[in-house]
Symmetry: C2
Subunit: 306 residues, 2 copies
Amino acid sequence: MRVGLDVGGTKTDAVLVDRGGEVVARVRRATGFGPEAVVQTIVGAVDELSAEAGAPRIRSVGIGIPGQVELGSGRVVHAVNLGVEKLDLAEAVGGMLGLPVGVENDVKAAALGAYSLHGARGSMAYLNLGTGIAAGIVTDGRLYRGARGTAGEVGHISVDPHGPLCRCGQRGCIEAFAGGGAIAARWSRASALPVRDVFDAAEAGDPEARALREGLAYGVASAVRVLVLTADVDAVVFGGGLTALGDRLVDDVRAELAASAEASGFLRSLRLGERVELLPAGSAAAAIGAALVGAAIEPEEALTHG
Amino acid sequence: MRVGLDVGGTKTDAVLVDRGGEVVARVRRATGFGPEAVVQTIVGAVDELSAEAGAPRIRSVGIGIPGQVELGSGRVVHAVNLGVEKLDLAEAVGGMLGLPVGVENDVKAAALGAYSLHGARGSMAYLNLGTGIAAGIVTDGRLYRGARGTAGEVGHISVDPHGPLCRCGQRGCIEAFAGGGAIAARWSRASALPVRDVFDAAEAGDPEARALREGLAYGVASAVRVLVLTADVDAVVFGGGLTALGDRLVDDVRAELAASAEASGFLRSLRLGERVELLPAGSAAAAIGAALVGAAIEPEEALTHG
């Protein structure tokens, strides 16, 4: 059995996965703030999973976390939303649990999980649509990492020199069009679910909401075009908070992709609309991917004993 | 000894490379038009190289050609500029020369050659700036191919929804801003070297030329941003006809990259200006890369006997 945890800014999703890759237990709990509370959240979730499953033998723990993870070290830096500036997470959690611990950036871990759920064939980009926008690229079962850890950072590619100002300082970044944070900041009404509110208001005919909603579709479709025309992935799977919008989101993006296919025979030949899909609502992809990260830190064991 | 040929729309560049990778002979000749003439051009160039070097033993022939090459087959389709709709180039040339022949798309072959000349370390994108714009991505010495052969087709990513109309039908494609063909079509004066003419006229203060020249820098800089933020390559090396513009081209692109670094701390951290460079004028990178393509079709031989 292996444990995978997706540590989010508000909640942590933890799964226990058997050797066949099936989820046999799942718990969710609020994520604590600051290094110690984050470690406690993780250890508590592992204990709860273990109790729920009758104290099985756990071979490894994998953690996906929003922040930069130093490759191979298990050290996390700049996990701003969690109040963590620097933390040797693998050592802290491993020391308390006495288990091997693997740590990965949350989007990259979720990409591995989505790839596994997607049939583990060919190549895929996981496009995370949350407060920010970033992608993880998986080819032949392996994360494409790039030279310095910025592979998949498509959110800060500008696709309109006269577009909205991004928090990064550029104009017209994909994230400035399509990031949940950017849309909330530009939407004039207060709302607990601002992007859903924008979609509803757009359907009611509000012109400001329609412009924001069209911008979101343009930003996400641009990310799809960038990912296919640069990395040529078979599929682009959407995950993250904005996917709670469901078909309304995917239909908008497909319509924008259809418009570029209408204009361009080359784009049409790529069949981009057919390559995009949503993770199912409530998918445990991110936590399952984290379990794969944990399994990968002891590849020989994994191979021999599953 | 191995032969590599870069078959271009107007001329063919052929090199003979020794086992250490050094070019020991080089010939250039006009490329014939149509399938038979293309094959004759290649066979004639190989004969000329062989004669020049005193009839050495040639182990393989590699060919880079503008068009789609079916992976592993040596068959070329849609090499429009050469008047070739469909041609089994490996079989035709191999049959006449009695040698193993490897065939690859010209930009991908040039990417391999540029990577080799660049020190054969880390990851690199070769950005071909010619009539059109396309890139080849090399990581750890291997071409990144993607799922369906469109990896590196950054020329048809739109980076401005209100930008110039591209021949592909979209607006604001990188190629519509920066392709030599697109610039020539939009430049109002007839000229044998239209892009050079645009640069000169811009320096003389012509406002239309300045807008075109700024657009070229925007398009190329956008390609660099896309390549680094998606594939995270260490370096982006420029090749192709437009690189005859030399420092004037690179300085413009660096200035545009500096402007985005000025605006965005994140972009600044990527040091994009330091990652771009030009292939030297007259570089044989494309033909050298083709020789590597030929060598790769018999990897065991290459390993054993160099």
